[in-house]
Every structure is written in structure tokens, then in C-alpha cells.
Amino acid sequence: MNSTSTIAQAIRLVRRELRGGLRGFGVFLTCLFLGVFAISAIGSFTESAKAGLLADASALLGGDLEIRLAHRELPTEGISFLTEQGQLSHVATMRTMVVDIDNDKRVLAELKAVDSSYPLYGKITSTPQLNIHNELDSRDELGALVEAPMLSRLDKKIGDKVKVGDAEFKIKGVITTEPDRTVRAFNLGPRFMISLDGLDATGLIQPGSLIYHAYRLRLPNRETVDQLKAEMQARFPEAGWRVRSWREAAPRVTFFLDRMNLNMTLIGLCSLLVGGLGVSGAVRGYLDGKITHIATMKCLGAPGKLIFTAYLLQILFLGLLGSTAGLAAGATLPYVLKQLIGTHLPVPMTPGIHWQVLAVAALFGLLIALIFSLKSLGLARLVSPSVLFRGYSESGNRNPGTAVKVSIIISAMILAALAILTSSDQRLAFWFISGASLCFVIFRFASTTIVKLTHLIPKPTNPSLRLGLGNIHRRGSPAGSALFSLGLGLTALVTVMLVQANLDDKINETVPNEAPSFFFLDLQSNQVESFEETVRNLPGLTKFERYPTLRGRITAIAGKPVTMAKVAEEVRWAVRGDRFLSYAKEKAPDIKVVAGEWWPSDYAGEPLVSITADLAKGFGVGIGDTLTINVLGRDVTARISSLREVDWSTLDLNFALLFSPGVLENAPQTNIASIHVPAEHEETAFAAITKQFPNVSAISTRELLKNVSQTLERIGTAFRSMAGLAVLIGFLVLAGAVSADQHRRIHDAVIFKVCGATRFDILGAFAAEFLFLGLIAGGISAIVGSLAAMGILKGLMKISFTLHPGTIITTILTGVALTVFLGLVGTWRALGHKPASYLRDVN
């Protein structure tokens, strides 16, 4: 029989097999559907969100091109150049305190001052709907538009007046949409929108004030933006401006989306791997039921190759069916989300069919179906016709053959390669695949070992316990599958929950104990003396720190332009945009130098800089290398003289880059300060400082952490949902294993009854079996999940790990409850069978 006729004959056999319907493949199809749906849904959502960002790019950026500066405005020649290119709009943003005139209450706000051209794209909408430029800059009074939380925090309404700096503003309306409001995980304060003239009137613009000026350009043809960008960089090479085109409208959001996509895809892949066990169980159960058929076909002359090919084609067809359903559901998710909750989504969405995403998800599904079916297919090929004469099939593991084993390994390697190559962070994907493979090996080893070890447990005298324990290591027992599937799913859940719990600890418990009560921004140099005097008189003050501060951007590392330097992923943040810089004469007591030497307090030599040790490692630099930072348009090259170790989690004032004295003193700058006061004195401290220094913005650490905590909770929910999906699939796999085992259980239950077992004896035996399995699965997942969480927290995130016994116990109980529930459902059906009718039918 040649290959073509083998395939043709195999197809004929498959068609006959499928005439019987899809019975027995419920778990197979469901596991593939859920796993492929998870991956295609995540990918489709991300791509649709990115498409939405791109479609709205100019509106999000505020123009086709944006030039951004800190502390200063664009020089005249820059403005002239840009005005020649298209329509220009100027926007200034900063943080400031908004004051209730009536009772002096103060709220931190994100101030935005706009010109008459704003917005270049999109529309500002408000309640009531206004002509904003008329309202913000009316002849009689200065107006403001605010976000709703501003009104609630100040207990104000539209028409009331508030003060910012030296100027009073009348609240004219509430902003409902702001087209260029950057999508952020959290904001420090609600929006307060005024005109540029209004900003001048506040008196907040001082040399060094932490104010950002953005100049947006609307071009006649936005496709020419790259050309213009290049022309600007050539014409103003030393300007130190940050220039972004509409193509880079929301880099942080895109980065965040890619990161979420990566992490959730990896968890989705984990779910699919767990689902593979369901596939394996279903195929094994199906082919076990076909043993007589296969033996008969072999008796009639069918070669093993035909058997293998026929069932392989059947499995691939069913794999395609399950995967296609998953793809369809995943691809439609963005449409459904947009329809149902479009306005509440944090990112704009342009739903579409993203074929690459779907193709990758489909490949994952098919590879999983193949990898987890090959062994059973290989064994089916080896079924002996002698089975027909013996009555019972041969039990125990048999070798499916070298070719099958090699095929499984190759398919697994293709799957791993696909996961790594399609990932935006291949290093992380590689470690994930390695970790997941290790988990597989651990669980495989654990389940095999534990099942064998149950042999060594002394046999209980109670018949139910004895039978239950015996069932675990009995041939054909679903014990291995249960431990594997439920264990892996629970491990994913434990890992995610422990990571979340530790992050929550860090924010809610550890940090507030050590963190400052307040940060104060925009303290002018001429206010420092009176500020320090005020602070030192605050009741309960335990710690006070103050540093001068400027903004600057790293432009070269060890002489190489930053665009060409090799920067490790974990410190890329340092070269993305402006960073806070500072300088100091003395080494503060809590500064920890780990390499090199701090400069003497009277140092007056070449510019030196002290950087954090992790930054040095990520940049690949050491003591003696140089860094070039652009500060207000001027490049400053400093030699690295020391490395510091900084624990950022304490939120103490610190800087990644600290310069030696004599480098930055003459540049326009402000000061940043932090104070530590007991909670009961916080309100007094806040009132005292903000009243005396109305230009200073006060950030409450408590509020900041609450914001971060809420955001992390939202993100955590998404991850927990994905991990929950892994548990659900594990549950389905176990259900499949129990269901596939149903026939055996019914037979066993009947024989037990014949031999004198009461219903309680039988129920007890099965309950004992599943109780053991649940405890073991929960126990192993608690250990492996804890180790995985520890690896993620300490290895990847570099933060401490605390065991949460409550989480562990909850997981073990969940495992036990799920397993026992499933076992008893299966048992109930078995118990319901009348022995006489069963025996009669079999006879």
C-alpha cells in the first residue's frame, strides 16, 4: 500500500468513524477551544487597541508632531521654523495646588494651559458644552474647565471660584473628553484646564519650575512627518528637545499593552498546555474504546500505518474544529467589547481581524493537539489482534516506538520555538517555556512517584480507605491525570495570587511604614530657607530631606550615542525621555556607595556623577566611564565616580543620577522635598506648607499608593482571570478523566456490590481516592507555585517574598473540594446503576 492509497483509505475510515458523531470528544474540543480562545482573544484585543491608538494617533499626541521641553519655552527661531511647516499649537502642563477661596482647602491638580489653536485634532467636550476659548479667556474673568473629581474634592460646583497661584479662576464647566489626555495607569490629580494667559497670571512660571511645554504641529500631509523630524534634528542638533511623531503617540501605552499581551499570552499558553492533558486523556479514552475495532481491522489485514494515519487525521480534523471555534470567539471579542463597553475602555479600540494573531493561535492549538495525541496514536498502532481472543486488553505502559517519541519531541520544540519567536520579549518567553517545561517534568515525576509510593502506605483496615488508596495506584487510574492537570492549573493560580499578595504587601504594609508622608515639588531656590524653617517647626517631624532638581536626558553612554548604545531591557526606562537629576556636596547618611568614592565636599574638578549600581550594570559601564546628559539644551559629560545601591521601595528621596558640585548650580532649577510626620499630624503639615508656599505642589504618599494599589488590583484581576482559566481547564481535564473512567467505575461498582459492598462502602472508596488526589494536587501546587512566585518576585522583580499561608491553604482546599466534587459526581452515576441489568447486559 503506497502513501497515497494509505491516506485515501485512512480518509474513508475517518469518515466512517465520524459518522458516530463527536461523542467522547467534549473535553478535547472544550480544552482546545478555551486555550485557543484565550490566546487569540488576548492577541486580537491588543492589536485592536494598538490599531485604535494608531487611528487616533494624531488626536492622542495633539498633533502630527510634538516638540516637548521641560522648564523652558521654545526659542523664537524654533517657533518660526515650525509655523512655516503647518498649524502650531502651544500647551503647557504642570502640577499645582488648586485652592478653595472660601476655606483654603487645597487639592493637587494636573494643570494644563492651552492656546487658541488647541486642540489641533479632536474636540474638547464639556458639560455644559462651551466654546472653550471664549470661556477660558473672557474679558472679565479667567475661566477654567475641570475634571469632575476636582469639584467633589473641593466640594465646589460650576460657577464657583478657586485660586491657583496668584490668580482666581471661575469654574466654567466639567471636561467630558479631552482628546490628547494621555492614557495613564493613574493620575496624581484631576485636570484643571486654563488658557496660557491664565497661566501667566498665576505667577507659577519661575526659573526652573517643573513645567512642560509642548508644541504641536498639524501638517498638510502627515506622512511627511519623518522627513520633518529628520530636518529638525539636523537643524537644531543641540536643542535637547524631545520630538515625537504621531507614529509614537502613546509609547507608554503601547509598551504597556505589549507587556500585558506578552504576560497574558504566556499564561494563556499555560492554559493551553494544561488543556493538552485533556486532549491526551480524551484521545487515550477514545482509542481505548476502539481497541476491539482496531484489533478486528488488523485481523482483517489493516497495517499499523493505516490505523495510525486514520486516527491521526481524525485527531487533526477535530483539533482544527476546536481551534477554529476558539479563533472565531477570540477574533470577535474586540467587536463585542467595543459594542458593550466601548466608552469605558481605557484605550481606543479599532476592532479588526488580525490574521497573524489568529494564525499563531491556530498553530498553537494544532501543535498541542498533535503533541498530546501522538503517544496514544502510536500505541493504537501496536494493538495486537490477540486482544479479541483474550477478552481483556493488555494493561500497563507500552512503548509507542522511537519514531513517535521523536515526533513528540520535534513537535514540542516547534511549539517552544513558535512561542519564543512570536513573543515581544523573547528572553522572558524562553524562561517561561523553560519554567513551564520544568513544571511539566516536576508534575510528571511527582504524579508517577506519588502514585507508586501509595503502594508503600500500610493498607488501612477500613475497606473504603483501603479501596480508595488502592484505586490510586491501580492500572488505568486517573490519578496521574488528576495530579497533572489540576496540579498545573492550581500552580498557575497559586503563583499569580502569591505574586499579587506580595505586591500588595509591599504597597500597603511595608512601604507606608517607611515612606515619606508628603513630597513637595516646585520649591523655588529663594524659598528654601523659609521652607526649611517651617518644616522644622512641624509637630511630630521625624525626617526631612531636600534636593535641588532639574530635568535632563541621557544622550550618550561611555561616549556612544544612546540610540547606538547597548542598554539592558530592565533599565531602558532611564533612556526614555527626561529624568530627574540632582547634585549634592555631602553624602547623605542613607546614601550607600558600593563602588568608587564619593567626592569631597569642597570638590571643584571635572564633572563627576554618581549613578545607581543597577543602572551601571544595565548600561555596561563602570567607574571611570562617562555619561552625557542634555540639561536645558546643554550637553554635560560627567565621569562616573561612584555607584550607589538604592532601595526605591522605601520611597525616600533619591536620584539615579547625582552630580558633583559645580556642574548644575547655575542652571534654572527648583527643589524637591520630603517629610516624615505621623499620620495624625499630616493634615497640619499639609495646611502649614501649602498655605505659606502656594506655588509648591504637595503629593500625599498615602493617596499615591492608594492609586497605585487600585491600578495593580485591576491588573491583578486580569492576571487572576487568566490563571482562573488555567484552573477551569484543569478542572475540565479532570472531569474528562473521570468521565472517561466512568465505564470502569460502573463495572467496578457492580462487582463491589456483588461482593457485598454497601453504597456507603463504594462512595467512601471513591471519595477517599479523590480526597487523596486533591490533597496531593493541592500540596504539590502549593509548593511549586510558591517556588515559582519566589522566583518571579526575587529573581525578576528583585523584591522580597513572603509566604502567605492563607493563600496556600485556600489553594489546597480548592484542590480538594474540586477533586472530591468531581469524584463524587462520577461515583453517583456509577452507584445509580442496577447491578442486575448491568450483569444481564454484559452476559
Partner: protein
């Protein structure tokens, strides 16, 4: 005259199937004394197996009385019947009905375990040795021949030293020679333990090994030799 071990009075048993109600047993009366061996002959579908099911408590009569070892089987619940079986009844089937994932030793231990026996394996091993399978105790049913499987089934049935042994076509799936070996073992064990035997069979020669024969025709029982209904 000693109290009969088995006493069936006016036993009716009907089953409801797809085609409606079927009267399987129609007023069966049977009395068997302790230690007696009785063969039940009759064509297929006559109700022979159903009679055995009723005697073992695996099937509930529609009406009538079934007393075995002084226990009225019609008055006790399902769990009570299970306990009754483990103490008084051994059953051997045509299809052996061993647990395929348990070894021969484990299969034979089962009824002893359910009755709370302290050392079931020891007694099970003795029973298997007596059945000539002392060297096969750790083999699974799939690794045994048909005759060996039936001998395991016999060992399982006799290990509790039952008062009553019910055998439903025990040699139906065996060749003549193997069947002979199995039946010899059956009768040897029966004599050793003084067990009352009810043997359902098509085989007249096999039936002749019993002291008494009854014939089931269309759900009614007739004595072949001796009194009957």
C-alpha cells in the same frame, strides 16, 4: 426434616422494558436444603439467570417471598442485601466479572475486605492456592486464560465460606476440557465447605452432577426429579 436454606414462595418478577412489561418469573416455588446441589435447566430467556439474581438479592421480586439462610430478602434494603451477600452468598458468572485492574489476589480479597476481615490477603492466597493458582496471585485477569480467570472467580466466591453458591453458566465461555477442570474444582470446594449449590446450566451432563434438577420454562419452575411447581 431440617429447615430449608432456600425457600421461595410464589415468586413473581416483572421487568419494564422498551416494549412494555415482561413477566420473567411467574409464581416460582422452590425449597432447597442445606448442602444440597441443585441444577436449573431451561432454554435461553426462560428466567434462570433472573432466578439467581433474585436468590442473591441483586434483583427485587415484584411479589412473593425469598428466604435464604433465614433472611427474607424482600424486606431488606439495598445495603442490607449487600451485607447479606457478603456473609452468605458466593456468585460465579459466565463472564467471570473480575476487576481487570486488580490482581488475582486483590480480586479474591474483595469480599473479605468488605466484611472487615483483618488479613484478607492471607486467606485470599490460601483460596487461590487451593484453586491451583498459587503461582499466579499477582497476575492481572488479562494475563490469565479463561479457565484460570474462572478459577479466580471461584476462589473469590468461596473465600467467604458462603452458605449458598450461585453459579450462572460457569463453563459457558470455556472449552469442554477447561470447563471440566473448573467444574471439578467447583464441586470439590462445595463438598469441602458443605455449601448449598444452585447451578444454572444448559449442559445436561453437568446438571447430572447435581443431586437434584429443576427446569425453568417460561418463568415457571418444574422439578425434573423430586417435588416442584
Amino acid at each position: 426434616m431440617s429447615e430449608p436454606l432456600v425457600n421461595i414462595v410464589d415468586l413473581h418478577l416483572s421487568l419494564v422494558g422498551g416494549a412494555g412489561e415482561v413477566n420473567i418469573l411467574r409464581g416460582v416455588n422452590l425449597s432447597i436444603t442445606k448442602g444440597e446441589t441443585v441444577s436449573v435447566l431451561g432454554p435461553s430467556g426462560a428466567g434462570k439467570t433472573t432466578l439467581l439474581m433474585a436468590l442473591s438479592g441483586l434483583e427485587k421480586p415484584t411479589s412473593g417471598q425469598v428466604q435464604v439462610a433465614g433472611v427474607d430478602l424482600t424486606t431488606i434494603d439495598e445495603d442490607g442485601l449487600a451485607r447479606f451477600r457478603r456473609e452468605h452468598v458466593g456468585i460465579v458468572f459466565q463472564s467471570f466479572h473480575l476487576i481487570p485492574t486488580m490482581t488475582a489476589l486483590e480480586n479474591v480479597s474483595l469480599p473479605l475486605e468488605f466484611s472487615g476481615c483483618r488479613n484478607p490477603e492471607q486467606q485470599a492466597e490460601e483460596a487461590l492456592t487451593k484453586a491451583g493458582l498459587g503461582d499466579r496471585i499477582n497476575h492481572f485477569p488479562g494475563e490469565l486464560s479463561g479457565g484460570e480467570q474462572q478459577r479466580v472467580a471461584l476462589a473469590r466466591a468461596f473465600v467467604v465460606k458462603p452458605a449458598l453458591l450461585l453459579a450462572d453458566e460457569p463453563t459457558g465461555n470455556l472449552d469442554r476440557e477447561t470447563g471440566q477442570i473448573v467444574m471439578n474444582l467447583l464441586f470439590d470446594l462445595q463438598q469441602e465447605h458443605g455449601t448449598t449449590l444452585v447451578l444454572v446450566t444448559h449442559d445436561e451432563i453437568l446438571a447430572s452432577r447435581c443431586e437434584r434438577s429443576v427446569r425453568m420454562i417460561d418463568g415457571c419452575l418444574r422439578e425434573e426429579n423430586g417435588a416442584g411447581s
